[in-house]
Every structure is written in structure tokens, then in C-alpha cells.
């Protein structure tokens, strides 16, 4: 636990009760945090409280597994980060920007700093792989001459250069997810948020996707991955943040999927 006192993140609880050796292994100051949640509570209008007093700090370059049973609040946390929902209480900062005080027209700019990947890929079936990736740039007003090299570069990175002209229906699940990851990367985001990216994939392909995310992380992109995949989490010994009933019950570096006492 190396968060310097007197920083805004002071008191951010990165350790859960009863967790083992903890810390975010980083010596960068907290203002380099890509994601910072402080005392965040999210209550939905129907009275359901999805998150309770959550503190979370994700420094730049970190790789974080977000685990917990269904309904524990993982999806809500992701929705808060992409400002699909607003916190009822507390602060949510992405790349230093307080999302609560973000003007409507500035929301898209924050979203471009986040690359998001879903379990169901969310690809457009009528477009080719290349067009799906280029789409993310087109709809944000990128001039045409910049689109081509950027798309070619990320497709090479995820290893899909050969499949660029195919449509999602012609691809395997793993290739579709790699397309989605390429699309998430094409804006050069500060963080990749992956919501159950391997949920629809068989174990072998899941490992491929994880390897790809690890490689992207090595290139300096922060990765936050919500998952149920215990085998992967336990094997990789990365930082694990566990949610239960809206609270962070564990936050340990080098953790397993389940608590090890």
C-alpha cells in the first residue's frame, strides 16, 4: 500500500478486510490514477443499492481483475466508469476528470479514453472487420487519411490483418472478440475495460483473449477486466478486486479468484 498521504486518494481503501499482502505495486503518484472511485454509492430509482461506499484506485499500467458473483455490482461499476450512470454519492474520476461535473458535450471525449469490450462483442454484422474498427474513428470525426493507418495498426496488433475483409458472421468467437478489442484500442485509450470478455468463449480461446489483453497491458494500457473465469484469475496472480453485495470485500495483488486464508 503505497498511496501517499495528503493526496486526493487518501483513505481510498485498496485493501479488503482479511486480505493478505496488499498494495498496488506501483510507485507512481496517485494523480496518475486512470480510475479513482472514492466513497461511491449507487442506488437505483427502484431502491436497489448496487454499490456501497466503494473506494478503488487503478494506477496507470495496472491489470485488475474485477470478480464477484452476479449482481455484486461489477456491471454497475463499469457503467459508472463509462458514465452511462451517475454515482448517487461519492466521486468517480477517469483520467483525473470528475464524471459528476462533466458537461454533456464532454462525455464523448472521456469515452474515447476508455476502450470497452463486452461479452457479446457488439459488432455490426453488416460491416467487415476493418469497417467495424474504422467505425469507431469515423463516428468521432477522425479525418479519413488518419483512419486507414490506425485501423491497419490495431488489426495487426490483434492478429486479424488477414481477416480484415470478412464479416463477423464469417469469424470464430475468438476472432470476433479480437475485432472488438481492436475497436477498443483504435482510439489509443488510457484504459481497456472488459466486461466478461471470455464469457462466450471456450477455455482455449479464452486464454488467447487473455494473452492478448496481457500483451496490450505490457504496451502500457491499463486493463480492468470483470470476469467469472476463476481458472484464469487464479493462474495469473494479478491484482484482484472482489465485490460482494455492492462492497469491495477484497483487493489484493497477486490474488486468486477465491479468497485464500
Amino acid at each position: 500500500m503505497t498511496i501517499a498521504p495528503s493526496r486526493p486518494a487518501e483513505g481510498a481503501r485498496v485493501t479488503g478486510p482479511g486480505s493478505g499482502p496488499t498494495g498496488t505495486t506501483d510507485d507512481r503518484p496517485p494523480d496518475r490514477a486512470v480510475v479513482l472511485l472514492h466513497d461511491v454509492t449507487k442506488a437505483y430509482p427502484n431502491g436497489n443499492i448496487a454499490l456501497r461506499e466503494v473506494d478503488l484506485l487503478v494506477p496507470e499500467g495496472d491489470f485488475v481483475f474485477l470478480v464477484g458473483p452476479s449482481g455484486a455490482g461489477k456491471s454497475t461499476l463499469i457503467k459508472l466508469l463509462i458514465r452511462d450512470e451517475l454515482a448517487t454519492k461519492g466521486k468517480v474520476l477517469v483520467d483525473g476528470q470528475d464524471l459528476a461535473h462533466l458537461r454533456r458535450r464532454h462525455i464523448p471525449k472521456v469515452r474515447r479514453k476508455i476502450g470497452i469490450v463486452f461479452q457479446d462483442f457488439k459488432l455490426l454484422q453488416t460491416k467487415s472487420v476493418w469497417e467495424n474498427v474504422a467505425f469507431a474513428l469515423e463516428v468521432t470525426g477522425t479525418p479519413g487519411r488518419q483512419i486507414r493507418p490506425a485501423v491497419d495498426r490495431v488489426l495487426a496488433l490483434v492478429g486479424l490483418s488477414a481477416q480484415a475483409r470478412q464479416t463477423p458472421a464469417q469469424l470464430s468467437g475468438g476472432e470476433q472478440q479480437r475485432t472488438a478489442i481492436a475497436r477498443a484500442l483504435v482510439h489509443d485509450p488510457r484504459i481497456i475495460i472488459a466486461d466478461e470478455p471470455t464469457g462466450n468463449l471456450d477455455p482455449l480461446i479464452s486464454w488467447e483473449i487473455i494473452q492478448l489483453l496481457l500483451r496490450i497491458n505490457e504496451l502500457g494500457v491499463t486493463v480492468l477486466m470483470a470476469t467469472h473465469n476463476a481458472e484464469v484469475v487464479t493462474a495469473l496472480r494479478k491484482r484482484v478486486v472482489a465485490l460482494e453485495e455492492g462492497r469491495i470485500v477484497r483487493d489484493e495483488v497477486g490474488g486468486a479468484y477465491h479468497r485464500e486464508d
Binding site: 458535450r105 464523448p108 455490426l124 470525426g141 482510439h187
Partner: protein, 297 residues
């Protein structure tokens, strides 16, 4: 900016053709509604023209004493013409009055009984046209005043006739406008719903656009342009349709309303403006309404 406009047009065009069934359904609805609207508009304008024609027929008739010297008649005509409400004054002499009566009897096929008379029983009169049929009061009061009694024998009681006619024409006018307004609202409602279906079919695309950080304008304007495209196409086809059936229809109408000077031909320019304007306006407004709910929060 150029990137944005080019992008929006390209996407609108692609969106229109990628979702052919929905786009053509929207266009068909648009044509149906525009034909309805244009039809009502033509009827309404025809009606208005007819009513105007009828109202123009309203005139105040002042019967004159027999044997008035010409100077008195000239004075009276000058005084009446000086009234601000008066459009024109026509003097009908006794002989002319008799001739008109005879002509009308002949036209109606009645036997001319005036031949048996040895004198002319019809008075000379002033036939006064008004600028606005509704404002007849001052002219009538002026003619009935004792100052004019040296010449004016009697003023026809136009009041009840004019009042009744004006009530009918104003009811018909505002009734026509109300119907036109209702048709317009129906058009808007149906168009909005049709476009909404087209938008719903593409909600996945909208969701992805928002997730990758597209600004509202990039989400909205392709749809608005697409709505405009539906409007232009619908209006063009509607006008084509009207051009084909318009000529025979206009002949039928003119034959039917023989008494009324209906001129459908002269409405063309206004009709084009109204049809294209309504089509494009409704298409864009409908799209804007439909996309709005997806941009929320």
C-alpha cells in the same frame, strides 16, 4: 466540419438503403400522407377561392327616386365613392334595370311579362361593391341618412343576407383549417412512428456509437438527413403522382364546381413548396424526435 457533413450524408444514404424495407415503408407512408395533405390543401384553396368569389358578389343596392336630375345622381355617386369601404359604384338606369330583368327572365326560360306594361316599374339604382363584405354598416347608414333621402328611395336590407353568408363562409374556412391541421398532426404522428421503427432497428449501432465516444451530433444528424431523404423522396413521388392525376382531376373539379373559378393550375408553385417543405420538415423533425430518446442522460 466537412468530415462531419460528409460522414452524416454518407451514413444517411447507407442507412436508407441498408434498411430498404423500413425506408420504403416510411417513404410510402410519407407519400400517402402528403397526397392526403396536398389533396386537402387543394380543396381548401379551391374552397377559399370559391368563398371569396361569393363574397365579392355581396353588394349594397340603393334604389333611387324616379326623375332625378343627372347632377344629383353624379353628386350621390361621388359621395358614395368617397366612402372608404367602397370598392366601386355602378349606376344602373331604369332602362338598364328593365333590360337586365328581361335578360334574366329569358335566361330562366320564363315568358317576358314586362311587354304588357306601358311604363317601366323598375327603379334606377346604385350597385355598390365593397372592399370587404363584412364592413357594410357604414355604407348602409350613410345611404339611409336623411341627407341622402333627396335621391335614395330605399336601401335593400343586405344585413341578414350578408351576415348569414359570412357565417357560412367563415365556418367553412375555419373548418377547413381545422381539418388541415388534424391531417398534419396525423401525418406527424405516423411519420414519427415509422421513423422510430427504423431507429429501433439500428439501436445497436447507436449504442456502439455512444460507447466509442461519438458526440450526439454524429449520432443524430445521419438520422435527420435520412429523414430528410425520406421527405424529399416522398414529396417528389407525391408531386409526380399529382402531376399525372392532377390534370384530369382538375377538369372534373372545374366541371363539378362550374360556378366557382377554381384554378388548380395556378396553385402549382405553392403546392410544390408546401409538399416538399412538409415532407422534409416532417422527416427531419420525426427523426429528431425518434433519436432523442436514445441519446438521453
Amino acid at each position: 466540419m466537412i468530415t462531419f457533413v460528409a460522414f452524416s450524408f454518407k451514413r444517411a444514404w447507407q442507412g436508407f438503403w441498408r434498411n430498404k424495407v423500413m425506408s420504403l415503408a416510411a417513404t410510402a407512408t410519407m407519400i400517402l400522407m402528403l397526397v392526403l395533405l396536398a389533396g386537402f390543401w387543394v380543396l381548401q384553396t379551391g374552397l377559399a377561392a370559391g368563398l371569396e368569389f361569393v363574397e365579392q358578389k355581396v353588394q349594397v343596392v340603393a334604389e333611387l327616386h324616379d326623375g332625378l336630375p343627372q347632377s344629383n345622381i353624379d353628386n350621390l355617386i361621388r359621395d358614395v365613392e368617397a366612402q372608404p369601404e367602397v370598392l366601386s359604384v355602378e349606376y344602373v338606369s331604369k332602362d338598364e334595370a328593365l333590360q337586365r330583368f328581361r335578360d334574366r327572365q329569358t335566361q330562366l326560360g320564363h315568358e317576358d311579362l314586362t311587354k304588357v306594361l306601358d311604363t317601366n316599374p323598375l327603379p334606377a339604382s346604385l350597385q355598390i361593391r365593397l372592399k370587404d363584405a363584412k364592413i357594410y354598416g357604414n355604407v348602409v347608414t350613410f345611404l339611409r341618412s336623411p341627407d341622402q333621402s333627396y335621391a335614395v328611395a330605399k336601401v335593400d336590407p343586405v344585413e341578414s343576407y350578408v351576415d348569414r353568408l359570412l357565417t357560412i363562409t367563415s365556418v367553412l374556412r375555419s373548418g377547413g383549417l381545422v381539418v388541415l391541421g388534424l391531417v398534419g398532426l396525423t401525418v406527424l404522428f405516423i411519420i414519427v412512428n415509422t421513423i422510430k421503427l427504423a431507429v429501433v432497428a439500428r439501436r445497436e449501432e447507436i449504442e456502439i456509437m455512444r460507447l466509442v465516444g461519438a458526440s450526439d451530433a454524429f449520432v443524430r444528424w445521419p438520422f435527420i438527413f435520412e429523414g430528410a431523404l425520406v421527405g424529399v423522396l416522398g414529396a417528389a413521388l407525391t408531386l409526380g403522382l399529382l402531376a399525372v392525376v392532377g390534370q384530369p382531376l382538375s377538369q372534373v373539379m372545374t366541371g363539378f364546381f362550374e360556378v366557382l373559378p377554381l384554378q388548380l393550375g395556378s396553385l402549382t408553385r405553392d403546392l410544390v413548396l408546401i409538399t416538399v417543405g412538409t415532407g422534409v420538415g416532417l422527416g427531419m423533425f420525426g427523426s429528431w424526435l425518434s433519436v432523442r430518446s436514445y441519446l438521453g442522460r
